[in-house]
Symmetry: C2
Subunit: 222 residues, 2 copies
């Protein structure tokens, strides 16, 4: 039979998974709002953000209570402390999706993006959502192989981010400075979203195995 303590510990994991799911959904909708200049959807992402913040507060409280009342050691202690760090990462993923939605809202009824770069953002959105799903899966399964694959998905994001910058900086860029500024910020938001998903997976694997999924330290591309 599971103790109340174990129940609380696994409920923390469930909350983290739920947050990750919501952050992924937020980025999915924000991307759609951006690509289709869909104001209602942008507003929905902005409203829904509160839900992530709520769970994040509750998850942090739950972790804190576990530390205070149960005096956990070894693996459990690592899991709870990582849990607190992971809350911050997923919180940030949600905030980045929110930023994307806010830019889409600010430019409405115009499209934020020049058509030329739509494909990049469709792809960045797809990779971001995939990364949040992978992070969620790693939270559920503690699978180190899945966690290692997250790094590859993140490489795809970094490539997109870099290509996009070369499009921006090409002398043939015809869409002016305002669009360039928006594209710069947006690309940065997607890339940071991906970084946080990678970080979630790394922390989970470190907690579960005591070592990181790969030997290199985490390096942000730009």
């Amino acid at each position: 039979m599971r103790t109340a303590y174990q129940e609380q510990l696994s409920s923390l994991t469930v909350q983290l998974g739920e947050m990750c799911d919501l952050a992924g959904q937020a980025m999915e909708h924000a991307t759609q709002a951006l690509l289709q200049a869909d104001l209602a959807l942008a507003e929905q992402v902005i409203t829904d953000h509160e839900r992530i913040t709520e769970i994040s507060v509750r998850a942090e409280e739950a972790a804190f209570k576990l530390l205070a009342l149960q005096g956990p050691v070894a693996g459990d202690l690592r899991a709870i402390v990582s849990g607190i760090q992971i809350v911050a990462d997923i919180d940030r993923m949600g905030a980045l999706a929110l930023h994307v939605a806010k830019i889409a809202r600010r430019r409405h009824p115009q499209h934020t993006l020049p058509e030329e770069v739509n494909g990049y953002f469709a792809e960045m959105g797809r990779v971001a959502v995939e990364l949040s799903r992978s992070a969620q899966e790693v939270l559920d399964t503690l699978d180190p192989e899945k966690a290692a694959r997250i790094r590859e998905e993140d490489d795809a994001m970094d490539d997109l981010h870099r290509h996009l910058f070369s499009v921006l900086m090409d002398k043939d860029w015809k869409h002016g400075v305002t669009a360039a500024v928006d594209v710069t910020l947006l690309s940065r938001f997607y890339e940071r979203f991906a970084d946080h998903a990678v970080e979630v997976a790394r922390r989970v694997i470190f907690t579960a195995t005591g070592s990181f999924p790969e030997d290199q330290p985490f390096v942000e591309p730009r």
Copy 2:
């Protein structure tokens, strides 16, 4: 007489203060490197970054050991958990200073910034360094009034960030897209640096008093 436990706890605080100091120095040097196209100084920021990472690893380990071996409760537990969260914030401040230095290095021997916006970045650099000093002071003194003033300093940063965007998006911007992209990213780095300093102060005050320095939740400007 202080116990070994109390020594360890206060040594954690010292480490956080030292990290904050180094992050502030990094941003000071990075700003100088940026404004003066000083390659040697940019390289130094990049090399020095390792030091912040080292202390960050040690501080996190120290906090973890305190949790594992001492089973702290109440205020001490809050201080240690906050300590772990603060490590992540200051780590990020260091990474943002590093990004500024890397952009300065990438554009060398050219100046990254059009002369027109030098004043903005000199001021953003000044405010960023001031914020890191204030955060450090709050870590030392646990002074809630000082922590509340940090918010005002951050407002100054947000104003600079906003003004800079209006300069960028003005139709009279004559410096092309590459400069606009650099300015956009740089401005974002300074603004995020400031946000993390605010967050450090908030966490310290929450730990010390059980409530945040102001009633409003933390809202990122853009």
